[in-house]
Amino acid sequence: MTTFVLLSITGLGLAALYFLVASGLSLIFGLMDVLNFAHGAFLTIGAYGTWWAAGNLPGAGSTGWGFVLAVAFGVGVGTLVAALIELLLIRPLYQRHIEQVLVTVGLSLALVALVRAVWGSDPRPFPRPEWAQGTTSVLGANVPNDRFLLIVSAVVVLVSVLAFLRFTRVGLIIRAGVENRTMVTALGIDVRKAFTLVFAIGGAFAALAGALGGIYLGSISPGQGTSLLIFAFIVVVIGGMSSITGTAAAAVLVGLVQQFANYYAASGVGDLSVVLLLAVVLLARPSGLSARLA
């Protein structure tokens, strides 16, 4: 029972990490039809931004509010980079989806290489606030606190994205754009402003995932984002490509399957079963778990 609880909560923590990365991917894909390969680089930037701020930014540190400030700095840098990339590199290729994807592929190479050039390819120990190093007893299982931090963050992000899409005018435009972009343009609304916004939001979530992933894993390295990105892609596809709730459900499914299979079978089997899950879902329902968007 203890193991089961521990595995469930750790699995949910992993799911939360996947969701943070995948939600931005799914928003961007839904609205712009661009599969953003640079998303892993946003994650790396967020992680290194936080790490740098914790060590160098006045007022920021590795504990308490200082750490919150460091995370905010990392997220801010990630958001800024994402918005700039959309404005300068993605927008000129408007409506040429393959080229847009190719640009993000190039960015994923160049940005990660740049981080590696500046800070080296070896993993760096990531600052972990004292609170996150402790454990909390849940039904007899000692669960590391950082898992709760991840889960709470993901839930907050999920709720606020849903509320944003549901109750604001921009959210309405985004939802309409996902459904039928041409029609929205025909109504005289400039969807491209929403593109930049969605890219920035995605970048912010990915950067947050990078910072929280740093706490979760205890260290950061330049290639980390890319390896997480592949699983985030799988989550997005299983979730139906453009649905936030579908992505959340798929993230939970993938996180739990991976964690349980890795524990009960053998290390590595979890990763394989996730791929199997993707194949099964795609063959049974080619449009993913949620055929219609939320």
């Binding site: 190719l102 190039g106 190479l109 160049a110 990660v112 290489a113 791929v275 993707l278 194949a279 795609l282």
Partner: protein, 382 residues
């Protein structure tokens, strides 16, 4: 006027042959190209680098068959290359097979593996296809890195047992033979790709790239044609993996990763997707730059630069990634597209293209199979 046109066509036809002869005779040259290569042309180090370039030219061309000619964006091409190098390596090292038997068995693997994966992955299209191929390739990568039973060597890679390999392909002294092997592989891939893209199936592939729905309307089944090109491209990549194994004397897990496939994508786009010589040139150029830029980074010329210049220049992937983005943004069609446009401008008129221009592939196919309006010939779906 007419003579000049005929001459030009002859030149175009002879150009690959001339390049081939030059490449085949290259190891006899003791030319020194300072800056381009470290040693004289026929020094083992230079030949090894050139051989690598040729192999990746071939592998890039096999990827171009999928991406450039058929419009299938696979993110799992690394899997088939890895199947070649690891498959042959395990047969040679673990089972002690002879080289011929190992190559034959790996070739079978290179047909069966893409056949099985392609028959599943091609049931979905677009981004979903990319994702399924990415995920299946990831399985290969995970298995190799997990090192099941100590077979694959994990992150360390796997050195090949040299006893079953003929002496002609072992050792630094025989680098020249490996170079010719790599050249033979490239020629094979180029010949096969030229032949199939000019064949009827090749026309269908290009039509699928332009408009798959209309190919279906013409009464053809795109699925079979896509599976055919998927298997062929996979097989050619597998053969490339075997040559790579002989060239390096081992397998490295780097070739199983998604980054490796992305590298192939960069090569093809850099050189020109949908162009045979473009893809080869892209593969050669990428491999050469990747290797040379690493050397350049540690050279005194770069080390003396101020930090803001030195740091980015020390990462070949940063330069290659940036170059790639610039090509995508400003040079659509890559190097091949650029050369085509320059040639057109010089001649001041459009030359009837050997390949149908974008958007015309479907029409041409319709004329060929005589379907659609006016097509009264019965056909059985090819």
């Amino acid at each position: 006027m007419k003579d000049r046109a005929v001459n030009r066509r002859n030149v175009r036809r002879l150009a690959p042959l001339v390049v081939l002869v030059v490449l085949a005779l290259l190891p006899y040259s003791t030319l020194n190209l300072p800056g381009l290569f470290d040693g004289v042309l026929n020094s083992p180090g230079t030949l090894q680098l050139l051989a690598l370039c040729l192999v990746f030219g071939g592998v890039a061309l096999s990827f171009d068959l999928l991406f450039g000619f058929t419009g299938l964006l696979s993110f799992g091409h690394a899997l088939y290359f890895a199947a070649g190098t690891y498959g042959a390596n395990l047969l040679l090292t673990e089972l002690g097979w002879g080289l011929g038997a190992a190559i034959a068995a790996t070739t079978v693997l290179g047909i069966v593996l893409p056949l099985v994966i392609g028959s599943v992955a091609l049931r979905v299209s677009g981004i979903a296809f990319s994702m399924v191929t990415l995920a299946t390739a990831q399985v290969g990568s995970i298995i190799v890195l997990q090192d099941p039973g100590g077979l694959t060597g994990g992150e360390e890679g796997l050195a090949v047992d040299r006893t079953p390999i003929p002496d002609a392909f072992v050792g630094v002294f025989n680098t020249v033979n490996k170079y010719w092997l790599a050249l033979a592989y490239l020629v094979l891939v180029y010949a096969v790709v030229t032949w199939v893209t000019r064949s009827r199936a090749g026309r269908v592939w290009q039509a699928i790239r332009e408009n798959e729905r209309r190919v279906e309307v013409l009464g053809l089944r795109p699925y079979r044609f896509k599976l055919l090109v998927f298997v062929l491209a996979g097989l050619l990549a597998t053969l490339g993996g075997i040559v790579h194994l002989l060239l390096l004397g081992g397998s490295t897990p780097r070739v199983t990763t998604a980054d490796f496939t992305i590298g192939l994508l960069v090569m093809v786009v850099l050189g020109g997707a949908g162009s045979r010589w473009g893809a080869v040139l892209g593969g050669v150029l990428y491999t050469y730059l990747d290797s040379r830029l690493t050397d350049l980074a540690s050279s005194p010329a770069v080390q003396d630069l101020p930090a803001w210049l030195r740091v980015p220049l020390s990462e070949p992937l940063f330069i290659l990634g940036t170059l790639f983005i610039l090509v995508v943004l400003f040079v659509p069609g890559g190097i091949a597209g650029l050369v085509d446009r320059l040639g057109e401008r010089r001649r001041g008129r459009r030359r009837p293209a050997e390949n149908p221009p974008p958007g015309r592939a479907v029409e041409r196919l319709r004329d060929e199979i005589g379907a659609g309006v006016g097509g009264n010939r019965p056909h059985d779906g090819v």
